[in-house]
Symmetry: C2
Subunit: 913 residues, 2 copies
């Protein structure tokens, strides 16, 4: 018979079986859970950990596979390990005179709200409680322990309602004439135990409260496993996109008591200050208390340092533990400890959560201290750490006490508060008056960008994380909640109904972009500061990375902002937003659209020319000496048409064309699938005069800047190319025009002409296209849409099901939303092919990316691997791209080692042949 | 000095310089034009051709390059060749006593309406006409020749108006008191010449009519070149998609005269009957007449055989020419000849136009006669030859005298006549009463298919060649005109305004799908018959081809029809059309859509199940023993929703859901880009019960058929796949269900599960997808849309400009409309990749195509080359696919010879090393 698999891992007395289950900390956490791995680590390191054992994650899977039953083999191994604990403690689990008590705790690889936390004092029963009372000579302590156990077991493990038990406790205090729990004496507590047991029996179909410690234990273990699938835990995993975890472990550990008098105590602490990152020992503790008392907030805990005065020996030991663990984990740790009669016990050790500024301070300090290399420090930072540095935040405590109006999709994190405006125009007007505004719309369109820019936050009733509102807001790092379906907006009355509440224009709301929650009223926000350590760390990133990081910016304001964020150029300057800037511009572009002759179209374009030229001059100045990629007009013309009668009327006045004709023309522009319609360079194929105007504006601006001594390198980018000849026609036209202007100006101005690769055919025929294009910029937003046949605007109806895992009610087809993180298998294959083919005909082809993916870490790393020259993303994503580009180099360095080993193996193999 | 290029090619006296310019007839035609090549051929073959010379096509290009001027070198070479002609004829071009007269004719590689045809008698002037009169002793003949020349030169070469000259002629006849031209005597004709010359001078800014024969000649040559760019010729080339021709040649040839008395004559003839294809000598001739008299129809020509009685020697010679030319060209020829005083002269020889039945008869007969091999016969047939066999036709003569109402895009050829219906329901109703109906709509949608099927022809105001109307109509081979913008349809009043005409429901119209013209009234149509030779030739194709040909058919009717057309299976059975068949079905699918619970959805689907099952049984029976590929539901749900209040009301009655809720649900289904939205297998990912219903219907139908002894091979096809797991989820679900049903039935039924490859990602990851799919069917309609980022429905606004050549006002970016002929460079690369990758993981993967391209010859050949197993197309395209598949084998055989040569060269190279 094969040896049974090891399901339970013992720790105690300086040895931990769990330490050998895997090589890395991460792998160990996957098997033992975070808590179990920490206990094993601490035990193995010789730290004082009460003995116990960890029931591995696998058992949780088995539990669900076997219809929520614990296997005989598991029970057998648990009992064997309990015997070891008994031996170590010199006590018996079922000894009614001197019972061994244990705690039972859940512990997945990541801590998770909604999962069962802890059951303490397990092993007590009607007889053992008496034994404990005698042994400790402290009946109050014993009955208090027992009533706590019954309460925790009933509610936490068996899921009985908490309120009735609290009510029983309340009545007991009333009866005893006392106000707080500690005031209840042993008798009262004993009485309480009886009442609790009766409550248990009444609510468990007459079953008495279990008296057999093992029955208690099986119940508690099962309860931990059941909590893995509790609604709250499932929801948390879905929201946090946790899909790689298979269950939770269970930790059974000898109880120690911090509430055995003044030489006992308990505390939680961090090895460094989790708020500032400062290298000081930080925490709270209580004398004569149990862990839950610290958390419950009944007594005010004291600063950790005071423990040094009261229990100097234990404190000294704790300080040693701190140093030891930081050396081991090379990271700040979050610890739980108990002192039982002057003896220190460590109960938990895990990587500590910290504020964004602390993340950077700790990483940089640890490099200075020699604990980490620079590369290790960089590798540790996450994109979210950077995000958190830049967004105003809503305090969780503040939020709790506020009135939540509704919840939507958390499209762009951060928080915003302001007065509601229901139209872009109103938003602009209110902002001009100095008001903070939140733009609230059913959905947004390019015409709204003015108002969106003026607003502090954006809230829409429809759309997903990649809707127009979300994409534009993300570009500006502006708090945005979309798909908030509870909003019933009525533009007529300038108000919205949300449930039974009415919100009117001018009312204050507060948006929490981190959670997607919308609150009534004006809540205070806080803005995290960027600490010096952040700058230091980003400098290290810049020294390491090879991939350049540019930004997507359409205005001098954006450009300047992006430079502050570390941008090295503009990778995508969209020219069409400029057309909406003022009514004059809007009318000119509309005039162009309804023009009935080439001459009329040219006349309308001539009006736009000076605007565009000055826009470009502003951007060139802001980006002095840095490359600027300008994309020619891209969206379909119907995005520019007047949207209401007033607009039509105005346009009719300007053009002399009848409103009917204008309406007809606008209707004509309607498309069944605008994404695949008359847009991009197709516009300049049919209306070459648009290209003429835009190229003229670009080159004239460059000439003007050059004359003013500003170095300019405009890169003219033609969008939506599908064919070499299509590109050549426009490139030739642009070059002829540009060269003529430059020659006439008598000044040297360099420029490049390239194209976006955003349609599969362009990637497939990139070798041909590169014969004309001097650079490629992969427009992975559209490339994703075309390659997957997936409209960003419509995918909301089914894509979430594709992305969500089976456990979360989805199908788990995609690991990530392909609009957020590049689909490396499919779209990535086209990108790789496009680069290789492109460089096969033009060796020095410059290649970048300018889709949303350019600011997403995994995608940026992909761009590095396939040999791009740069990524371009919205200003607020620039630091994330810089980080990811540096991390890509680190991964590459790690990867280099492996092939060397493989090679060695290969050559060894050869030799043996 | 380098020798000047040869620009002019002499023919005469049994020798023709043009015969050596190229190896193949086709290449020779590109250089000399069709007429020039024919004259060279006939001359070289020793046939009696009046000497002359051909000015090659290249000169036409040069002419345009040099600002419409004839080069000195060309003039020099023309004069040298004229000297040769003079020598051969023993006459001088400018001899006023016995002038050498010539004809000047255009001749491109293809004959083209709108180009200058002929100028006769060039070389005459005021003096030469007197010389001719004396020499022939026939002043009337001489002056008639002169007045004809002046008239032709003025109008044809110089572009003067025809009517005034006809009026002068009319006045001359009036003055002479005669009725016909031949009655005018020499004096009157001489007077007429003077009047014509005056008219010329008056209209040419005082310039006198040219007297110098060379001046006349240069003018005539220039006029031929100018006519190449005449509007009518340019339009013709655009309409016929002729883009490979670079210009026209000019033929200058000694005049011969069939009007020199009763021993002279002229005629046009075909070497076989162009109407039936019968192997008889066929033609018309006139004694004592010139060529133009035969065409003009002033005198009634006689049958060719009668010439044998009147001019037996010339006739005998002509019969020899016929045999000789058929042997040379291996094809039926169209000849022009003149007999001048008993001497036969051949003036033209070209491949003769013929009816569709004649095409097949001639090809098959020539194989039987040993003139052609079977493969040569097959290679000669064009797809259009087959099309013409099947479509009812409107007689050109009938059309001429009818009232044209409007013109649209000729989407599906053929003709149809019937009474107008403006709604699908009316069309169905009228058809049930036995009326012939034309369905006239602004545009059509899937809900209209019933009415479309009932109609004889379809006319829409919007859309292009690949709109819904066009695609569906093409599938049925049903005459269809789309994009007929002049129609102002008012559904309310059931009428339309077209210009100043009103057409009401029930009025008769006639559609000519070949031209796109719409006529008022009920015009007579004719239906070509399929001759036995067609069946013979298709049998040869079937013997030769390896590619299987299936059909796209959704009903037993279509299936039966397709089998008659030679289909070997169904490659695409769309299941969604079935949902529109009756109100009951429509309501059931709508009920499914608005269902608020899974149960309600399942209940609605249960109603559809028996319908679908009986549909499939019908199709399986029709296709007995042949494979049937059934595609699961594909279009987005909003295509099925009720389109008016009545429909909403009805659905509300059935479901008990309020009309408001129904409308809201329907609005919710709106998509920004439905093509990239919630459709295809995405529907069954979100609503797996739809797949259950459809698979159950398919398998139950197969079981029922199998029990009835009908062999069935259902191939279940999952559309719009983008990922292996997405497919696997559905394939697993379908297999579990199917296997269960088959097991329960206790009968053996085989089935396959495969997928459409119609999204780029599926082609890119085909190796993974083939691990699940047992077959691939390339949906090249959608694959083209995604790969090119081009919506079929919207491309009309710019794609024509992409496809049209520069000369025709376009940009010449694409050679063909990629929706009509597969984009082999781009989409084709994905198809090739998909097949190779797919077969890398599943060697025996069955691969087909089911887009519109499956019935287009060039695309079918591509499918053969990339190793597909079958193509599938609409029933009426099946014969075209069979032909193209056979022609692909022929091309392959031709191609095989070349690599063999290369190999030989390579090995030779090796040896020399």
């Amino acid at each position: 018979m094969a040896k049974a698999e090891k399901l339970v891992f013992y720790f105690g007395g300086g040895k931990a079986e769990g330490i050998r289950v895997a090589k890395t900390d991460a792998e160990r956490r996957m098997i033992l859970g975070g808590k179990g791995a920490g206990l094993a680590d601490m035990t193995a390191a010789g730290l004082p950990v009460p003995p116990g054992f960890t029931i591995s994650v696998q058992n949780c899977e088995d539990y669900y596979r076997h219809d929520r039953k614990l296997s005989a083999e598991l029970k057998k191994q648990v009992m064997e390990n309990m015997a070891k604990v008994e031996k170590a403690m010199g006590k018996k689990f079922s000894d009614v005179n001197d019972p061994l008590l244990v705690s039972v705790r859940s512990g997945a690889a990541r801590s998770m709200p909604g999962m069962m936390e802890t059951i303490l004092n397990l092993g007590l029963n009607d007889k053992a409680v008496e034994g404990l009372a005698k042994k400790t000579n402290n009946p109050r302590f014993a009955y208090d322990a027992y009533r706590r156990f019954i309460q925790m077991y009933s509610t936490t493990a068996m899921g009985l309602s908490k309120e009735p038990m609290e009510e029983i406790l309340h009545q007991a205090k009333k009866k005893a004439g006392v106000k707080t729990d500690p005031e209840l004496n042993a008798e009262a507590l004993k009485e309480l135990c009886e009442q609790f047991k009766k409550f248990y029996s009444d609510n468990m179909k007459g079953q008495p409260f279990p008296q057999d410690p093992y029955e208690q234990l099986w119940g508690a273990i099962g309860a931990v496993f059941n909590s893995w699938e509790a609604d709250k835990a499932v929801t948390y995993r879905r929201v946090e996109k946790i899909s790689n975890l298979k269950g939770t472990a269970v930790n059974v550990q000898t109880m120690v008591f911090g509430n055995m008098g003044d030489h006992s105590g308990t505390g939680v602490c961090f090895t460094r200050d989790p708020n500032t990152g400062e290298n000081v020992f930080y925490g709270d503790c209580l004398i004569n208390a149990q862990g839950e008392d610290v958390v419950a907030g009944i007594r005010t805990p004291m600063k950790l340092a005071e423990l040094g005065k009261l229990l100097p020996k234990a404190y000294k030991q704790l300080c040693d533990v701190r140093v030891h663990l930081e050396k081991h984990y090379k990271d700040m740790q979050d610890l739980e400890f108990t002192v039982q009669e002057e003896k220190l016990f460590m109960l938990q050790c895990r990587t500590g959560k910290r504020t964004a500024p602390a993340v950077f301070r700790i990483a940089v300090d640890m490099v200075k201290e020699g604990l980490l290399t620079k590369q290790e420090a960089i590798a540790r930072i996450t994109p979210e750490d950077i995000e958190r540095l830049f967004y105003p935040q809503l305090d969780a405590q503040t939020a709790k006490s506020a009135t939540k109006l509704a919840s939507g999709i958390n499209a762009v994190p951060g928080a915003a508060t302001g007065q509601v405006a229901f139209t872009a125009a109103d938003a602009e007007e209110m902002a001009e008056l100095g008001q903070k505004v939140l733009l609230v719309r059913k959905e947004t369109s390019p015409e709204d960008v003015g108002g969106m820019h003026a607003a502090s936050g954006i809230l829409t009733a429809t759309g997903g994380k990649t809707s127009h509102a979300a994409v534009v807001a993300r570009g500006w790092g502006k708090c945005c909640i979309v798909g908030c379906e509870a909003l019933n907006i009525d533009y007529e009355t300038e108000s919205m109904k949300v449930g039974d509440k009415i919100v009117k224009q001018g009312d204050f709301l507060t948006l929490d972009g981190n959670t997607g929650d919308v609150y009534l009223g004006k809540l205070p926000l806080k803005l995290p500061e960027q600490p010096p350590a952040y700058q230091t760390l980003m400098k290290w990133c810049d020294e390491l990375r090879r991939l350049k990081v540019r930004t997507n910016a359409d205005t001098p304001y954006d450009a300047e902002n992006a430079i502050k964020m570390g941008a090295e150029g503009i990778g995508l300057c969209r020219t069409e937003h400029m057309f909406f800037d003022t009514e004059e511009r809007r009318l000119a572009i509309q005039e162009m659209i309804v023009a009935e002759t080439v001459e009329a179209r040219k006349a309308a374009l001539a009006k736009l020319l000076p605007f565009q030229q000055s826009d470009f001059e502003g951007i060139f100045k802001a980006m002095n000496n840095k490359p600027v990629t300008i994309r020619l007009i891209d969206p379909p013309l119907h995005e520019f048409t007047p949207k209401d009668d007033a607009g039509v009327h105005k346009l009719s006045q300007v053009t002399g064309i009848s409103p009917e004709k204008i309406k007809h023309r606008c209707e004509q522009l309607h498309e069944a699938n605008p994404m695949l319609g008359h847009r991009g360079c197709r516009l300049c194929i049919t209306y070459p005069e648009i290209l003429d105007m835009q190229v003229t504006a670009i080159i004239k601006a460059a000439i003007a800047c050059a004359k003013a001594g500003i170095k300019v390198l405009p890169e003219i980018m033609i969008p939506l190319t599908i064919d070499k000849k299509e590109l050549a026609i426009q490139a030739d036209q642009a070059r002829a025009l540009a060269d003529g202007l430059i020659k006439a100006a008598g000044i040297k101005v360099k420029y490049m002409i390239g194209t976006m690769i955003e349609i599969p055919r362009a990637a497939l025929l990139a070798d041909q296209i590169a014969e004309v294009a001097e650079f490629f910029s992969f427009g992975t937003n559209d490339l994703t849409q075309m390659t997957l046949g997936l409209s960003r605007d419509d995918a909301g109806r089914f894509l979430p099901i594709y992305v969500a895992s089976e456990k979360d009610g989805g199908k788990g087809i995609f690991k990530h939303d392909p609009f957020q993180s590049l689909d490396q298998d499919g779209v990535g294959m086209l990108v790789k092919m496009g680069i290789e083919k492109g460089r096969s005909t033009r060796k020095d082809l410059k290649v970048g990316i300018c889709g949303e993916h350019g600011g997403e870490a995994a995608s940026v790393k992909f761009c590095h691997r396939v040999g791009m020259n740069y990524v371009s993303c919205s200003p607020y994503r620039v630091p994330i791209a810089r980080l990811a580009a540096a991390q890509a180099v680190i991964s590459e360095n790690l990867g280099k080692a492996k092939p060397a080993i493989k090679k060695a193996k290969k050559s060894a193999k050869k030799k043996t042949k």
